[in-house]
């Protein structure tokens, strides 16, 4: 039974990914992206990374998607109507991407074939991840906090459209 669920989730993920690329209305594409992020979180949970699944939903869906939707709402295109766009040229990008995909799949087959087939064992990762973040990855953790601070300040400075009071 759990196998069926995983297949359904993976199929839905692939469908949503295609919709992100192909839907003309940008807001519908954002909804498809939400679907992709949710199914990614579900796959993380299936693989045993439950903390990452919850964080993915909290940070990505609750944060990044809200930023995207705010950006979409604050930038309505005055020359056209409601986010519909037609790039028009889909044939060559699709062809090139398919060839690239086939090459990647070949590389994956080579690298994944070294793994012996084993039953997926899941364990509680929260404690170990916490210890890793203050252990070997402490410097990276502090570095990412500083990057976050600079990113926030930079985004605020850039987004100000020059209104001086």
């Amino acid at each position: 039974m759990s196998d069926t669920i995983v297949y359904l989730i993976a199929g839905f993920a692939c469908l949503c990914a295609f919709l992100v690329a192909l839907l003309p209305n940008i807001l519908h594409a954002v909804i498809a992206l939400i679907g992709c992020l949710f199914t990614t979180a579900a796959l993380y949970a299936v693989l045993g990374a439950d903390l990452l699944a919850a964080l993915q939903v909290m940070v990505y869906v609750g944060g990044t998607i809200v930023v995207i939707i705010f950006a979409v709402m604050m930038t309505p295109d005055l020359y056209k109507n409601k986010f519909i766009e037609r790039a028009g040229k889909y044939f060559f990008p699709t062809l090139v991407c398919s060839i690239l995909g086939a090459c990647f799949w070949y590389i994956y087959m080579q690298s994944a074939s070294i793994l012996p087939k084993a039953e997926l064992v899941r364990f509680a990762i929260t404690k170990k991840m916490g210890l890793a973040l203050v252990g070997p990855y402490a410097l990276l953790f502090e570095y990412v906090s500083v990057v976050l601070l600079f990113g926030l300040l930079g985004a605020i400075v850039i987004a100000r459209t020059g209104e001086r009071r």
Binding site: D3, V6, A10, A13, A17, F18, V20, A21, I26, V30, L33, C36, L37, T39, L43, Y44, V46, L47, A49, L52, L55, Q56, V59, Y60, T64, V67, I68, A71, M74, T75, D77, L78, Y79, E85, A87, Y90, P93, S98, L100, G101, F104, Y108, A112, L115, A118, V121, R122, I125, K128, M129, A132, L133, V144, V147, L152, G154, A155, I158, A159, T161
Partner: protein, 107 residues
């Protein structure tokens, strides 16, 4: 087959290819940035898949792949914020987010 890593690698590959396709074919600036999010998700999925299956294969309990994915999630969020701030600035000077209109260095 859910015990096989190829399912997760395939989903990651589809995410990557579709993200690339989104970046290439959309002319809406926000659409392009959604492609970037998809590509980062694909990378994170690969990390988690490989870490889980290597743990199962070698009977260990390492979390390095998960920590990398955590950093990917965090950095993707902040990168989205900065990118969309730039898009808003672009919009403020040109009144459109059509990237095909951005062919002159002005504003």
């Amino acid at each position: 087959m859910a015990d096989n890593i190829y399912l997760y690698l395939f989903v990651g590959l589809v995410f990557f290819i579709c993200g690339l396709l989104t970046m290439v074919t959309r002319k809406n600036a926000i659409g392009m940035l959604m492609g970037v999010e998809l590509v980062l998700n694909a990378a994170g999925l690969n990390f988690v898949a490989f870490q889980s299956f290597m743990n199962s294969a070698n009977k260990e309990q390492l979390v390095d792949g998960y920590v990398f994915t955590l950093f990917i999630i965090i950095l993707a969020a902040i990168e989205a914020a900065v990118a969309f701030a730039i898009v808003i600035r672009y919009f403020a000077s040109r009144k459109t987010i059509d990237t095909h209109q951005g062919i002159e260095l002005r504003g």
